[in-house]
Symmetry: C5
Subunit: 98 residues, 5 copies
């Protein structure tokens, strides 16, 4: 899974009939330090993430696990919201408490 | 899912016998600002998109969901037509009304 | 699906026991103008394409649709032979009649 | 499968309901000499790897084999811990004994 | 399928319980002329290939076809050993007889 920052929202007019209504998030893949890597993509969000949160995204057939999306043409989802990234004893990222 | 602009149409002479007749669109992947990213590819269009529209494309096995394409050798489809892309409260893209 | 030019043939000595005999084509991925993009790969050809033809290739699990290849370790096939590529009213490519 | 070094751990707050609890490792893909290649990603760890170990990672649907992850939105796992990499009679890497 | 040269062997200590024992080959992807392209990866070898042989590798779910690997976390296999690569009537590669 890749790291990404949730940066916005995408609204669709016409969609594939297997694409359930729900939040389509604009996510920017990043490295561990938060630096942008590649272009922003659209990920289906089952977790209720908010812009500004760091998440991990899963891509490919792994996105369609579970009853909501298993016959859906979704190739990227938000699989988790990141709390902490730790590397060699150092905290690289810590989610701020709200 | 990636952003792409619908820029044309592709006609095939001979095709795989599991490839249903239908619109094969020429789509140019882009970033959120509409800048070209990578080469144009061919995506199966179940949505009746038109050249000039901004869409999201799904790739891989996620393309074969639903009865029309589930045994078809299609690795890219148009999964939705974009209405709005919003980033940090700013509208990056808004589909023009016709 | 990506555009590619059929440029040759590959013969194998020893193969995976689920790989059916048949034509393994050497194909060079291209952009819409025919310019090379990336390295030449090997695609299974169910369509009887000939060197010099422009095709679309499908990759990943989408290759294994249909009875001939559905349990076969094939990750790229020729999914169609291109007749015409049209972009914004202009013909970018037109297959020559033989 | 690609080579990677285990360099840290990732903790998630909210996760997809099909993602089993367990160790999410921060892994840095490398070449055979250990040089970084691409960005660090998150891989599910069923093997109890430790930071500092060289592993091979599997990506895509191949990650979901076995009962723990087969309906899970995981697109990268640690598939093995490397003992030795040998190239043309030379040992490129040998795991240190503890 | 991509071309690769078999250049070595990888031994694992601890492995996923669905990974059958067998030869894990170090393979270097190449173009048709044998020039290195990208980093060396690990491919499962069902064919008994030897270092020095040119092979084609299949990646993704296509690797898990057949009874030995169908529930295995393998994302790259050696799908065939190359005898000849022919491009526009010219032999680019011919396996040497032993």
């Amino acid at each position: 899974m890749k790291f990404a920052n949730v940066i916005g929202t995408v609204v669709l007019t016409k969609t594939h009939d297997r694409l359930p209504e729900g939040s389509m998030r604009l996510v920017q893949p990043t490295d561990t330090s938060g630096k942008k890597k590649g272009i922003a993509i659209v990920a289906y969000d089952l977790l209720g993430s908010s812009p500004g949160e760091k998440v991990i995204i899963a891509q490919g057939s792994s996105c369609r696990q579970g009853p909501q999306l298993n016959t859906s043409p979704v190739d990227a989802i938000i699989a988790g919201i990141v709390d902490t990234i730790e590397q060699e004893g150092k905290i690289l990222y810590q989610k701020k408490e709200v």
